[in-house]
């Protein structure tokens, strides 16, 4: 190579100097600068070229030697030799004026680029071979401040991709390297034009369950920012209520299918703790009674209590009875039998499918080494049921220790589950006010008890509303539909985040501090871009899982009417503001 290049240079010069025609042929139209440069500073820089080529060769030779030493791989070295041979033969083939001229021009080009790069300030010369590197580093790669680890492997379904929030959500997801699917009602040209090209467009209607099956294929997460186009009740019902519930069903079905394919060992499948399908399934459950007071007076006025757990002819497992004793309770208890290899620490809570007459119950978990029950610690939480059947989600985090000095519940150690009824703190069931209710009697129909798989992240982000921006006459209907949609999502068993933004504003995001709140107290608007940002951030934020919250701009008082001085803003947008803001909010709301 050494000899080759030094041979080329004068020859190339000769041809370049020779005739103008040839010269024009060699010079591409977009590089006029080489020509003058050749004429003026040919000699000196030629020397430099040769010098650098020499240097390069020696360094690469050294390099090769080093590599051989390190890695005495026979095939590799022969490969290298082959490459070298090929290069030499190529240069032999090129011994004609045109080839030599081209080659010399390439070298000049390279040297010239470097040379002229020195004389420049903020212009970056970019050659074509830099494009790939550029793509790797600046556009998608880790050097990009938008890059999110794991985004490449995540497919997000955006419902309502052309809505005010949706289109920004799609852009944000694309910028961060997610795979995006967009659910549109009709894949018209004008709709498709609105979306980035690499978005996969799935036609479908949230009002129609059958069309959603294809949409959720391969999705890991869903962002739902579709909203009804009108406030007509039918529209509201279809999009805001049934739409959400259809989509959660389709997504759960897809997850369940995946779980089945993996023989129930998917991280998405729930763990069945008890199913009350036959009379046999009642075995092992034990009915007990007791009182909180051990005094004599209580026993004197013993009014009695009774409870039974039985399998009715209708096929229901019913726990029923009454407690008239002051401070008395009855409970149904059983040691949990987990399938081999399963522990409850991989689950985040219990879900009970129950029916009955709407009393509230205390759930008690006993935790401790199963060999020695005397060391067990008790943890309790209160659940309320509805008249008729319902599913109750009880996260392990809601259990509190009976003795305040005990450590928080470790689900790994749980061995016994108890459902206790006590007449204290029962509330009359609404809607049955006419009928006389005796709050001391109860009836609980048990269908199943399952453990909910834990998930670190949210699966379904729903953009709802606070109702502030809606015209007052229709507000109630809109809110009703939205709340129904929210409820169906909460019950679905998916990890959810429900965002209720204030009235939306079309302005750039990240300008003003945001308020995160629960309980319908907000008063300000918020920009669409900020809502979109929260949606995208919530996807990978464990504190956002299973939360509903309102969000709006921070209230800024009019000039001269401030009550308080503003002490601090939320941190800059570049930081993750979501985690600290959400960590103080209630879960499972």
């Amino acid at each position: 190579m050494n000899g080759g290049s030094s041979g080329i240079s004068p020859c190339g010069n000769g041809s370049l100097r020779g005739t103008n025609n040839l010269f024009v042929m060699f010079t591409s139209p977009n590089s006029p600068h080489q020509r003058p440069w050749l004429t003026a500073t040919r000699r000196r820089v030629l020397l430099t070229v040769r010098a650098t080529v020499d240097k390069k060769n020696t360094s690469s030779n050294n390099n090769n030697n080093q590599k051989k030493d390190k890695n005495p791989n026979a095939s590799e070295t022969t490969g290298e030799q082959e490459v070298l041979l090929r290069r030499q033969t190529l240069s032999l083939d090129d011994v004609n004026p045109v080839g030599l001229g081209r080659k010399s021009r390439q070298i000049f080009d390279e040297v010239w680029r470097k040379f002229s790069g020195l004389g420049q300030i903020s212009r970056t010369t970019r050659a074509d071979d830099k494009e790939a590197l550029d793509a790797l580093l600046i556009r998608e790669g880790p050097m990009c401040e938008f890059a999110i680890p794991g985004a490449q492997n995540t497919t997000v379904l955006v419902v309502g991709p052309t809505s005010r929030i949706g289109r920004i959500v799609v852009r944000k997801l694309m910028l961060r390297g997610y795979t995006v699917k967009a659910l549109v009602r009709k894949a018209d040209e004008e709709v498709v034009d609105l979306l980035p090209r690499s978005v996969e467009i799935v036609p479908g209607d949230v009002g129609d369950y059958s069309t959603l099956k294809a949409a959720v294929q391969g999705c890991n997460k869903i962002i739902y920012c579709a909203t009804a186009r009108s406030t007509i009740t039918v529209d509201l019902f279809r999009v805001d209520h049934v739409g959400v519930s259809n989509l959660t069903k389709a997504f759960q079905d897809y997850n369940n299918k995946l779980a089945q394919l993996r023989a129930g060992k998917s991280s998405k499948s729930k763990l069945l703790l008890a199913k009350f399908k036959s009379a046999d399934s009642l075995n092992g459950w034990e009915v007990r009674q007791g009182t909180y007071f051990q005094d004599v007076i209580a026993s004197k006025f013993e009014a009695g209590m009774d409870a039974k757990f039985e399998f009715t002819e209708a096929g229901d497992a019913v726990f029923s009875g009454y407690v008239f004793t002051r401070g008395g309770y009855v409970e149904l208890s059983r040691k949990l039998l987990l399938p081999l290899g399963y522990t409850l620490d991989r689950y985040e809570g219990l879900v009970l499918s129950v029916g009955g007459n709407g009393r509230s119950y205390v759930l008690i978990l006993e935790a401790g080494p199963s060999a020695d029950t005397s060391q067990s610690k008790l943890y309790f939480t209160r659940i309320s049921t509805k008249v008729g059947f319902c599913r109750v989600r009880v996260p392990f985090s809601s259990f509190r220790a009976v003795k305040p000095e005990d450590p928080p519940l470790d689900p790994f150690l749980v061995h016994t589950l108890t459902i206790r009824f006590e007449p204290r703190r029962q509330r009359p069931v609404e809607g049955l006010a006419g009928a006389k209710q005796d709050l001391r009697s109860f009836k609980l129909i048990l269908e199943y008890i399952k453990a909910l798989p834990t998930g670190q992240e949210t699966d379904f982000v729903l953009v709802s509303c606070t109702g502030l921006g809606v015209e007052p006459t229709r507000r109630e209907q809109v809110l009703k539909a939205k709340r129904a949609g929210e409820d169906s999502l909460r019950r679905s068993g998916l990890g959810y985040t429900i965002i209720r933004p204030g009235p939306l504003k079309e302005e750039p995001g990240g300008q003003r501090a945001l308020i995160f709140d629960q309980g319908n107290r907000i008063s300000q608007g918020i920009s669409c871009a900020d809502v979109a940002d929260i949606c995208v951030k919530a996807l990978h934020d464990s504190t956002a899982r299973n939360k509903s919250f309102d969000v709006c701009y921070e209230y800024v008082a009019e000039q001269g009417r401030e009550l308080y001085e503003l002490v601090a803003h939320l941190p800059d947008k570049a930081n993750n503001y979501l985690t600290p803001a959400l960590s103080v909010l209630e879960k499972n709301t």
């Binding site: 240097k55 095939s75 790069g117 300030i121 590197l133 600046i138 050097m143 694309m174």
Partner: protein, 393 residues
């Protein structure tokens, strides 16, 4: 292209323009040292040029009736046009703006390989060419803000895009009632009229001021992204690194930070019409940058130091000939390099003005460290995957 122009306009010219758009007073700028520039004359009636040829063919902004008097159809304040969106800075601005919820339109030149990545991010791409002013007006319809980060390609004559194209763009923007115009200039450009690019930038600054467009001029020092190709990649590929022994210090800045600050400045009504200078946290000489790269890469660079005197000599030589003037223009920065000037400004005031925390601005050490950790990891992965020893990106 350059060949044709220079042979047809052999007489050294003087650049004059009459500012006509808002005030009748004549502002005259002179382009002192440039030998090759033709006379560009912009007058109220249209344009007359030195050789009788229309070099700038934009008459949209020239006629008095085109001055935006009526408000016209309101445009959304979130609609922005980025000129030069495929460039190092342009793409960061597009990305940042999209992320902040703007509707971004990108003006790019028609090219065989279209800039698909911009479309993938969700921007709208329109084809136009600043050197063909008739293509500009259509792209400005419905636009509130224009961010101009275009610059000529290295192989083009320095004047076509950076002067003629920009003038045409500003005139069109004025005529179409664009409500804010952001222009990127070079730090200290008013102090170095001997460097053509800097002089052009300074002229555009003045032109913009006289045009009466609501504008923000942002002067930049240097991009960190440029250092990757210049130093980091050659060091990793064990190729020779070319540096100068110039004592000039430049406060490099991450283009992502520039984009962020730009958009903040854009929204701030107090900044309209002002001149901001963005500089990085610290000013570096070439030698310092190379040393830093060597340390981070864990290997010695094969440095070819070119004395500044050679650069200057080359420039002098090239200036003797008509057809080498482009080269001379390109090397003109070497004139600045000889002085031990510092391309940096204290940023405290700017940060306060924009409400930015100085801790959020990336330093060069951090930037290059991120680069090298990432690239070295990638290289290791690649090496593990294949036995290939030559890795080209």
């Amino acid at each position: 292209m350059a060949w044709r122009i220079t042979t047809q306009l052999p007489t050294p010219g003087k650049l004059n323009y009459l500012s006509h758009i808002t005030n009748p007073t004549i502002t005259q700028l002179s382009w002192r040292n440039t030998l090759s520039s033709p006379i560009i004359r912009i007058s109220t009636g249209g344009k007359r040029c030195g050789g009788g040829r229309a070099v700038v063919a934009c008459s949209a902004g020239a006629s008095a009736s085109a001055v935006n008097l009526a408000p016209g159809t309101p445009v959304r304040p979130t609609s922005i046009l980025v000129v030069g969106a495929t460039g190092t800075l342009g793409r960061q601005i597009v990305r940042r703006a999209l992320d902040e919820g703007y509707d971004v339109r990108c003006l790019v030149r028609p090219r065989p390989a279209p800039a698909d990545f911009l479309r993938d991010w969700g921007a709208t791409v329109v084809n136009a060419d600043l050197t063909k002013p008739e293509t500009i007006p259509a792209t400005l319809v419905g636009i509130h803000t224009v961010i101009d980060c275009a610059t000529g390609r290295p192989e083009e004559p320095i004047k076509t895009v950076d002067w003629e194209g920009k003038v045409a763009l500003i005139q069109c923007a004025k005529a179409m009632g664009i409500q804010k115009f952001v222009f990127y200039s070079i730090h200290n450009c008013d102090k170095h009229p001997e460097v053509p690019l800097m002089e052009i930038k300074h002229c555009i600054e003045k032109f913009l001021q006289d045009s009466g467009l609501p504008h923000v001029v942002i002067r930049l020092c240097g991009f960190m992204q440029g250092l990757i190709g210049q130093y980091a990649v050659p060091i990793l590929e064990e190729k020779s690194v070319w540096g100068t022994d110039a004592p000039t210090r430049i406060a490099y800045m991450d283009t992502q930070d520039i984009a962020r600050l730009t958009l903040i400045a854009l929204r701030n009504q107090n900044i309209s019409g002002k001149l901001l200078t963005f500089a990085g946290p610290r000013a570096w000489t070439t030698q310092e940058v190379i040393t830093l790269c060597e340390r981070l890469a864990g290997q010695d660079a094969n440095v070819t130091t070119v004395p500044v005197s050679i650069l200057r000599l080359t420039r002098r030589l090239t200036r003797f000939f008509e057809w080498t003037n482009d080269v001379a223009d390109r090397l003109a920065f070497s004139e600045v390099l000889t002085s031990d000037i510092v391309f940096s400004v204290p940023m405290k005031e700017t940060y306060d003005l924009l409400g930015v925390d100085s801790k959020d601005i990336v330093t060069l050490e951090k930037y290059l460290q991120d680069y090298f950790t990432n690239i070295l990891k990638k290289l290791k992965d690649l090496k593990a995957q294949s036995k290939q020893t030559d890795i080209f990106f």
